[in-house]
């Protein structure tokens, strides 16, 4: 497994310093705490969590937009921040990101042609305008913006949200990536077109053998996109549960995962009105500036064990094959 991993996070943590008040001095805000993760070639890993859980930061760490405070991020076995120039350039080309908001991920002053041809020229994939045009048309066709000639000289504002997201996806494909981080890639889109974007991503994964990190707050989308892959559930900067998608959905182990699944409103009146949400001990999410000691879910968890959960951080236990959970309820199982 290890040698087939494309991306590995090795005890990665990330904190930001924030100033509080005039005399408050600096505080550390730990966004990611001691995260270890391995993503295999060709796999789909869905990173699921609520806002502020650190899932977007994890994505940015993986594409190398920010540096970890400690720990290593490995691409094909090599630490990206100690790579020499040539290796780092290759890594940059191989790992791409699709942002959430198609309205801010495309530069409003450029036409689709310029957006897609800039990386092609920069990396010598095309030499002149006619080559670039041909390649851009091919990319547009690949993301189902057909006929491509209708789109190539449009500005972003002339496109709908779904069409913009397709352009953003086409841009992420310009350099033939091996790994794509899709950060909430469909959550800003209208309900009726989300699925078509998901289908597109799935097809690209098959055709181009791209590995996906699919970051989302929407468990239903994660289930739909990543049924053959794995789900990792994040809470306050840590992964609390990770396992094959069907197992995590059908047999959630961590109390937080259970709480999420019991709470999610669903588009089916009978299903959703018969849900029995878990009664949490508190509604408030702890501040990242002031994380509780021990398991960070313990102040809200109805199953907490006093003296254990609020003292130590639980290890990852493996109560069923390849299905890991970080909760003392499963210690020794």
């Amino acid at each position: 497994m290890e040698d087939r991993a494309i991306i590995q996070l090795d005890h990665v943590s990330k904190s930001f310093t924030v100033r509080s008040g005039i005399f408050g001095g600096r505080k550390h805000m730990q966004v990611i705490g001691d995260l270890s993760l391995s993503i295999g070639k060709g796999e789909v890993l869905c990173l699921v969590g609520e806002s502020g859980c650190g899932k977007t930061t994890t994505g940015k760490l993986i594409v190398g937009l920010i540096r970890p405070t400690s720990g290593r991020i490995l691409f094909e076995g090599k630490d990206i921040w100690s790579m020499h120039n040539e290796e780092f350039k290759n890594y940059r080309k191989a790992v791409q990101i699709i942002h959430q908001d198609p309205y801010s991920s495309l530069n409003p002053v450029h036409r689709v042609y310029n957006i897609l041809s800039a990386p092609l020229f920069r990396h010598g994939i095309v030499k002149n305008r006619s080559e670039a045009e041909e390649k851009v048309l091919e990319l547009l066709d690949r993301v189902d913006l057909t006929p491509p000639r209708d789109f190539i000289y449009k500005y972003p504002h002339q496109l709908s949200g779904g069409q913009r997201q397709r352009v953003a996806i086409a841009r992420s494909l310009t350099l033939n990536p091996k790994f794509i981080v899709a950060d909430e890639a469909v959550s800003m889109l209208d309900v009726s077109i989300r699925l078509s974007i998901i289908e597109l991503l799935r097809r690209l994964k098959e055709e181009m053998n791209v590995t996906f990190l699919f970051i989302t707050h929407d468990l239903a989308m994660a289930k739909y996109f990543g049924w053959e892959g794995r789900i990792a559930v994040m809470y306050l900067g840590r992964i609390v549960e990770i396992g094959p998608t069907p197992r995590v959905i059908e047999n959630p182990l961590h109390p937080y995962t259970k709480a999420l699944l019991m709470a999610i409103p669903e588009a089916d009146p009978q299903v959703t009105r018969n849900k029995k949400p878990m009664q949490l001990r508190s509604l408030d999410i702890p501040s990242l500036l002031n994380l509780p000691p021990g398991c960070s879910f313990n102040p809200r968890c109805p199953f907490w064990i006093e003296g254990t959960c609020d003292r130590e951080v639980p290890d990852m236990y493996e109560p069923e094959k390849n299905h890991y959970v970080s909760c003392f309820l499963f210690k020794g199982k």
Binding site: E50, G161, V191, I193, S196, A220, A263, P265, E266, V271
Partner: protein
């Protein structure tokens, strides 16, 4: 017979912008009954938010009601809201109909404490008795499960998204309105917080017997809370019916498409399907059914005249000429 409290008759709302007139709401007829929950479902540009803001006459300055009436029936009288002047509106908003806006953060003035915002709202509607407002505010904040003493002295940024949403809901109840309009009340909130707000709205409904209108793109909110659902597309209602009718017996291809486009987590896998194309340009609308360019049931007659709502079952209305052939295949 349930009493109707609001009757929207043939309403047209437009915005004028540099390119022309945006026909945001086109000929909507809709009744709201006492004590019911009505969900307005649609995608961006469907006109659902415009319809909601037109009801309490808070349209942006470029928008105006072109035609139609909005009749409110309360205190034994009938009033046409669309004819109200500013003074009438001040007497009316928040006392009869209140609205909770989509963006919980933007609805607050960032430099005022929660208490000042509550008191300003009360004053704007003619209630100057400080201690009365304070007492009522505290009991309402407690009612929405907040710590009133702490919240009332906080600035908006000191509260979490869920807390802000609860404060807004409490504020909307300040003057005991008969109708509450909620625009995307759970969007952008965390799942556990969403659940909490949904439970809260259930309690409010049970305790106060209000009529509520939910505006949302999120089908699951309608599935949770609505008694009746109106599905909007390109400024018009294309299907209207009970929540069971809409979710289990949809008769409009768009409704069917929407429901099939949303995956569920805990229910088993179901056949999913996405609607091709994108919504029409509301400035240059073509004749005929506005959904027809995206519709797989389209026949040539669809492009001639825009279909009107016809009753296909008890209180179930559909605007589609081929509704008989649409079976959800669930």
């Amino acid at each position: 017979m349930v009493k109707e409290i609001l009757n929207i008759e043939n309403l047209f709302v437009e915005y004028s912008n540099i390119r022309g007139k945006v026909k945001a709401v086109r000929g909507v007829n809709l009744k709201l009954y006492k004590g019911e929950n009505l969900a307005l479902i649609g995608e961006s540009g469907s006109g659902k938010t415009t319809l909601g803001t037109a009801i309490i006459r808070l349209l942006p300055s470029s928008g105006y009601i072109k035609e139609g009436r909005i009749v409110y029936k309360g205190n034994g009288n009938e009033y046409d809201i669309s004819k109200f002047n500013e003074k009438d509106l001040r007497q009316f908003r928040w006392k009869e109909i209140a609205m909770v806006f989509q963006s919980a953060l933007n609805s607050f003035n960032p430099v005022l404490k929660v208490w000042d915002q509550i008191y300003d709202t009360a004053k704007a509607h003619g209630i100057n008795n400080r201690s009365f407002v304070r007492e009522r505010a505290i009991s309402l904040l407690r009612y929405v499960q907040l710590d009133p003493e702490r919240v009332i002295n906080s600035y908006p940024h000191e509260l979490s998204g869920g807390m802000r949403q609860r404060v807004l809901i409490a504020m909307s109840l300040l003057l005991e309105p008969k109708i509450l309009i909620l625009d995307e009340p759970t969007t952008a909130l965390d799942i556990l917080t969403q659940r909490n707000i949904i439970e809260l709205l259930r309690i409010i409904k049970a305790d106060m017997g209000l009529s509520m209108i939910f505006i949302s793109h999120d089908l699951s909110l309608a599935a949770e809370l609505a008694d009746r659902v109106a599905v909007m597309y390109a400024g018009a209602i294309v299907e209207l019916g009970s929540v069971e009718d809409i979710f289990y017996r949809p008769k409009h291809p768009y409704t069917l498409g929407l429901i099939k486009a949303v995956p569920t987590v805990t229910a088993g896998f179901r056949e999913l399907y996405s609607i091709p194309g994108s919504p029409p340009d509301l400035i240059n609308l073509s004749p005929g059914c506005k959904f027809s360019p995206r519709c797989e049931y389209k026949i040539s007659a669809c492009e001639k005249d825009e279909p009107t709502l016809v009753e296909v079952g008890p209180d179930h209305f559909v605007a589609c000429i081929r509704h008989k052939e649409i079976n959800n295949g669930r």
